[in-house]
Symmetry: C2
Subunit: 325 residues, 2 copies
Amino acid sequence: MERKGNLMTYRPDIKVFDATIRDGGLVNNFFFTDEFVKALYLANLRAGVDYMEMGYLADTDIFKVDDFGDWKFCKEENLRRIVGTNETDMKLSVMADVGRCNIRRDLLPKEESVIDMVRVATYINTMPAAIDMIEYAHELGYETTCNIMAISKANTPDIEEALALLAESHVDAVYIVDSYGSLFPEQIQSLTKMYLNAMEPAGKSVGIHAHNNQQMAFANTVEACSMGASFLDATVGSMGRGAGNCAMELLLGFLKNPRYNLTPVLAFYQDYILKLREEGLKWGYDIQYLLTGKMNLHPSSAIAFTKEDRTDYANFYHQLFDLDP
Amino acid sequence: MERKGNLMTYRPDIKVFDATIRDGGLVNNFFFTDEFVKALYLANLRAGVDYMEMGYLADTDIFKVDDFGDWKFCKEENLRRIVGTNETDMKLSVMADVGRCNIRRDLLPKEESVIDMVRVATYINTMPAAIDMIEYAHELGYETTCNIMAISKANTPDIEEALALLAESHVDAVYIVDSYGSLFPEQIQSLTKMYLNAMEPAGKSVGIHAHNNQQMAFANTVEACSMGASFLDATVGSMGRGAGNCAMELLLGFLKNPRYNLTPVLAFYQDYILKLREEGLKWGYDIQYLLTGKMNLHPSSAIAFTKEDRTDYANFYHQLFDLDP
């Protein structure tokens, strides 16, 4: 399989997907001010971003409403407080985690909602539950994606089986999700080929959601893109869990489609993202995340290391050897 | 041309090259303490690093000695203060910039020096001067490399001609140097193929020295490596000019040769590199460097932006449009 497109031109199938509120919300429990979310919405519009994820559709029976900001739950009235009826070219999405939401209760019919797309996040072993949610959201009128998380832990035959199931579903796109920031571009290349081989014949797209543990989030996104992935996730300032994500400013700086404009994202970064850092929020590449990424481990221990302001990296490295790889 | 090796095995031709003092010296004018340099030397030894660059061989007629630390000039007695006679497996190098050193005066015959390798840094238009220096250093008994800087600005036919000249010289290795942090892995792949096609038949190796303006330093190093480059430059904590380099801790975490050991580098990072940051030295990926990298510009304006503690990234971006690209 050849690369699709080249470094001089652009592919119109590419969709830039802003996940700042959703993945960044994992850093601050979704306590973004309305001013922040509104400014990001406007920056994304001006930047030509194709999709903006507003947050999770979490189940209030599982998560205490007071412990989180509104974007953990994405109630329709809260969305409309920011976007009105979103009479724009930019589509809006929410993420629904398998086992952590109740979409049969919480998801409105498409015509009653400003949401355009439901992204179902799942581990590979809960694929039937994910497909059930996808089909329900599809019936309600939404675009859907399946985001198969922690793919660096999955076994190739299992991935192939999951993709075969998805090819027969109504899902619109399937994501490669490198939750642990563990994968290298060569591996992303193989995975993208595998996903495309399964999805393209069914008329479905492939997406990439990368983490930056080994400073590979942007490189892996570029690699997946060049192999034919169309949905490219990014967050402003890489804001996201642990080592964060592919930076929107890197991605928009790279893409050649004149639709995209870097300046509004730079302005948002300097006016809003810097403030979050000054207030003490921490995310982004650091040695502890490199180590969990390298060892293909969930970043939770590195997040705890960060919260404790530890800098004994060598010691932490040896502690990781005791965790189940 | 196929990839050489794979992600599971290792290639014995790989040489890990520590450039922390040399490229990092551009951040602090080479004012490293002896304790720092000695600790790095010991860490590199324990880590299995193959080459350590001690600094530049700058001309004291051009640069005022008092303005710089010892590692700008690498006088033999200063080197020996740190490494004694270096009775180890690790080789030592110095960098000689075309037009900024006087190697006929300053370079001792190999048998009188602890230096093993002279790396000649040149722009592509001063290749004859570089080859003259390479031949002289070779005659004195040194290993040599030619580091062709700012390769993202060079024209392909010029590169081919330069490589043809080098193939006929006594140089041991030729480096791809992405001084502006401007290149993407696809471009590094093409360049590595071009370099190898010219150098391999002459029995010479290829190296990669990357900068991190677009968070591609490690990805580009991995890409060059997988295509067959053997000399891989890195610096601890990415310490180097502007956005810095490929991080040694990422590179050693990636390489599979049991010769390499990450722990001493992590210990050096926590004990010495963090201190430099606390003292106020600044380097590494940031938006201003992304912008000069994306626009294929020398990082000088981004370095000035950093020194002035500016954060008006959008404004800076538009100022860059007025610079000659």
